[in-house]
Amino acid sequence: MNPGLRLELTGISKQYPLVRANDRVGLRVKPGEIHAVLGENGAGKSTMMKIIYGAVQPDEGEIRFNGEPVRIGSPAQARKLGISMVYQHFSLFDTLTAAENVWLGLDKSLTLPQVSARIVEVAQTYGLDVDPERPVHTLSVGERQRVEIVRALLTQPQLLILDEPTSVLTPQAVDKLFVTLRKLAEGGCSILYISHKLDEIRALCHHCTVLRGGRVTGEVDPTKESNASLSRLMIGAEPPQLQHRPQTAGDVVLQVQGLNLPRQDAFGMDLHDIRLEVHAGEIVGIAGVSGNGQQELMAALSGEDARAAPSAITLFGQPIGNHSPRRRRKGGLHFVPEERLGRGAVPTLSLAQNTLLTRTQHVSRSGWVHLRRVERMAQEIIERFNVRGGGAGSSARSLSGGNLQKFIVGREISAEPRLLIVSQPTWGVDVGAAAQIRGELLKLRDAGCALLVVSEELDELFEISDRLLVIAKGRLSPSVPVAQASIERIGVWMSGLWDRPVASAAAASAEA
């Protein structure tokens, strides 16, 4: 009803078979405004964006664009109206150049040279350096995102949607992106900025709509809020504080030296000369932008990829590089993978059956499974780690992401490992469960277990780690005690520049 608004949603609802993803939500975006949409995973942010972008049709409610009621039937219609979206996961063809990729996404009214010229023009206006002639596979992640943004800008949008744009960027690249976005907003383009990172929203956005459980729980000016007050709106409570007690590390538990592994598939990353030590009673964190060799390193350490030279990986001095995951587990090495459903747990099997994946003390020598005892073990894990769901008999896929993650982490912790390797411990997990999982990891460390944690969330690593390393382009940086590390320094290292002094490296990484 307000003619001054760029976009107005009123009473939008969307019912999926299992959940009401959006329940009479509203959203009001002014021209030239950077508007944050804040919420946890599953709060309904993505559904709302898909409705605005025409990928999903709402069950009820009204959408007005520039004051006019509209029905957005498809993304193509959205683009025609002047709405563009940059997805969290890029959709670029690796073998094509930046210009060709942009060209593919446009209506066919322009020729390729015209598109290249437009790219250079737009890139200059907004400070987005993109070389249109370079093939995409030679571009860094930050550069690829710039290609995506340029592609979105070429359609001259009045509203640009960015879905978690910083999850793949180094802190320096984030700063650069913000400069671009502010310039865009000054030019009158409205920006919808989806995120769950409170600091970014407070630094960048003019206005913030908070979602929780499919409903709008607040509309605030983020610059006037604190992290605590935003988090209260987002999860209904403040996250509990963790206690990190100082502790001296014990003997070497895991030693990796000279680990080289060629990639197994075309989109993988080679590992080069990985060196790493984890001691008893410490948490070593590995930071890095995703896709820089984390997956490959985890597979080599867990034994899912057993191609490594035996002596490249030692556990308590024993070479294990070529051992199977089961043999490593017998030696006390337990692993929590990044994917919960399908890797850490079989979706259709019950929690009790899923304990059997890694816990075999109730399997007799002859291979007989004592079902009762397995069920009891699952029940104990469920009670100890406060897993909410249907109990030991319910299937893994019936649990929410956070509860399943608690179960899997609990399954490995209750095995009393001597070395626990965890990949993305709280990825896609709600704040309460995340705090609980981090607390359990710290408890395990205090009990003398060695822990290696890989995460893309720097805050998380700074919160729980004793020492930090950074992985970039398949190489591992030297380790640095958390007390001596800063977000800036780790950010520079995330571009692979740990050999240079900080000042010049910072400049270089901003380029990357």
């Binding site: 078979p17 299992l18 990928a55 049709q57 039937g73 498809s74 993304p75 193509a76 219609q77 683009r79 025609k80 959709s91 593919l104 996404g105 446009l106 209506d107 867990s302 034994g303 899912e304 199977s324 995951p325 089961r326 043999r327 587990r329 692993f335 993978p337 994917e339 399908g342 890797r343 850490g344 747990a345 079989v346 979706p347 259709t348 099997l349 059956q353 059997l356 994946l357 890694t358 075999t360 399997v363 291979g367 007989w368 499974v369 079902l371």
Partner: protein, 370 residues
């Protein structure tokens, strides 16, 4: 446009009832079929569903058909549960029959010391024959990543040609008036019958024991668990450390062995000699038996009996109602088809949806939306 939308919570009861529902629909379509053919549908149903279980004799004949179906389907259930697609049980059945037949033909005075024990040797040879044929599939898959569906299926035809070569050539009975058949096996090599005057043999007892054995293997042993995890979530199996190679070999050797055992029982049982007509389609029909039985050992007993009724009913329909034999295949196919349809509708519901017209053409961009 019709759209399939996944149901939030598929009904447990309906997924158990789905085979019965499928049977009911099959019967209904069958009635329609009889009507179109101008036959009395009641008479038709009687031929298919009453005659095969009418008396002891018919039950004994039913068990003869059901035994190989159940044995083969048990092995296939393990295969399919571990995501190994062995379509060539028919070939493993034939090679099992060949191996068993070869041992049976060696019987005579010099092997008299074995007495009736020779039957054990014959059945063992059947198992080994089936395993060997399946091992070719496993080896090609393991070594060269050859598709096991194609390899196992094509090996069926190789096995049939091998059988043809042997019964037309080296193994032909010299006193057989040049018919393509081996000698009739000696009485001591015959699989023992259960009752006097009936053809039902000890194979049905073996099949029932096997049902128990497979149930225990699948649901009470770690090995069986590991195999199924490999089928349900290969990444989880790798995470747990279950070897996919050993799963491939176990599944293929087990199902090959079961098909070979069925072949051995058939050769040394009802057939009593080898002819070009050893392959009767049991290996293919067992795929349907395994699925209709929900890949569950107990379910397979029921679906095996049902499929045998179709076999016998088809034969009776030929002689009593002058209907073509292919009616058996029609009924078997109908049953599988309706079962798949019922299963789909248990997991999904139909939604009628009018497609939104998209006025803007941007094909390349539209691809990205996915």
């Amino acid at each position: 446009m019709i759209k399939l939308e996944s149901r939030p919570q598929p009904s447990q009861l309906m997924s158990l009832l789905s085979p019965l529902l499928a049977l009911a629909i099959t019967v209904l379509i069958g009635i329609g079929l009889f009507l179109i053919l101008g036959k009395d549908p009641l008479r038709g149903l009687q031929v298919f569903f009453v005659e095969p279980v009418k008396n002891l004799y018919s039950l004994s004949e039913l068990s003869i058909k059901a035994t190989p179906l159940i044995l083969i389907a048990l092995g296939l259930a393990v295969c399919f549960r571990s995501n190994v697609w062995n379509i060539g049980a028919e070939g493993q059945f034939v090679v099992g029959a060949l191996a068993a037949g070869w041992v049976a033909m060696q019987a005579g005075p010099q092997l008299a010391w074995m007495g009736r024990g020779i039957v054990v040797a014959i059945l063992l040879a059947g198992v080994l024959g089936g395993m060997a044929w399946a091992a070719i599939v496993a080896l090609l898959r393991d070594r060269f990543n050859a598709n096991e569906i194609l390899v196992s299926l094509m090996l069926v035809y190789v096995a049939e040609m091998l059988l043809g070569y042997l019964v037309y050539g080296p193994w032909k009975d010299p006193q057989g008036y040049n018919f393509p058949q081996t000698i009739t096996f000696l009485p001591e090599t015959k699989v023992p019958r259960l009752f006097d005057g009936l053809r039902a043999h000890i194979g049905s007892v073996i099949a029932l024991v096997a049902v128990g054995g497979f149930w225990i293997f699948l649901f009470r042993t770690y090995r069986g668990f590991a195999l199924q995890v490999g089928g349900l979530a290969p990444l989880a199996a790798r995470y747990a450390g279950f070897s996919s190679r050993s799963a491939l070999w176990t599944a293929l050797l087990l199902s090959g062995g079961m098909a070979g055992l069925a072949g051995g029982l058939e050769a040394a049982g009802p057939l009593g000699q080898l002819t070009p007509y050893v392959p009767a389609g049991y290996g293919f029909a067992a795929i349907i038996v395994a699925y209709v039985g929900r890949l569950h050992p107990v379910g397979i007993v029921f679906s095996g009996l049902l499929m045998s009724m179709f076999y016998i009913g088809g034969e009776l329909a030929q002689s009593r109602m002058a209907l073509p034999k292919s009616l058996t295949g029609v009924f078997q196919g109908l049953l599988l088809f309706t079962l798949l349809a019922c299963d789909t509708l248990v997991h999904y519901r139909l939604r009628w949806q009018r497609r939104a017209a998209s006025p803007v053409s941007a094909p390349a961009a539209a691809v990205k939306e996915a």
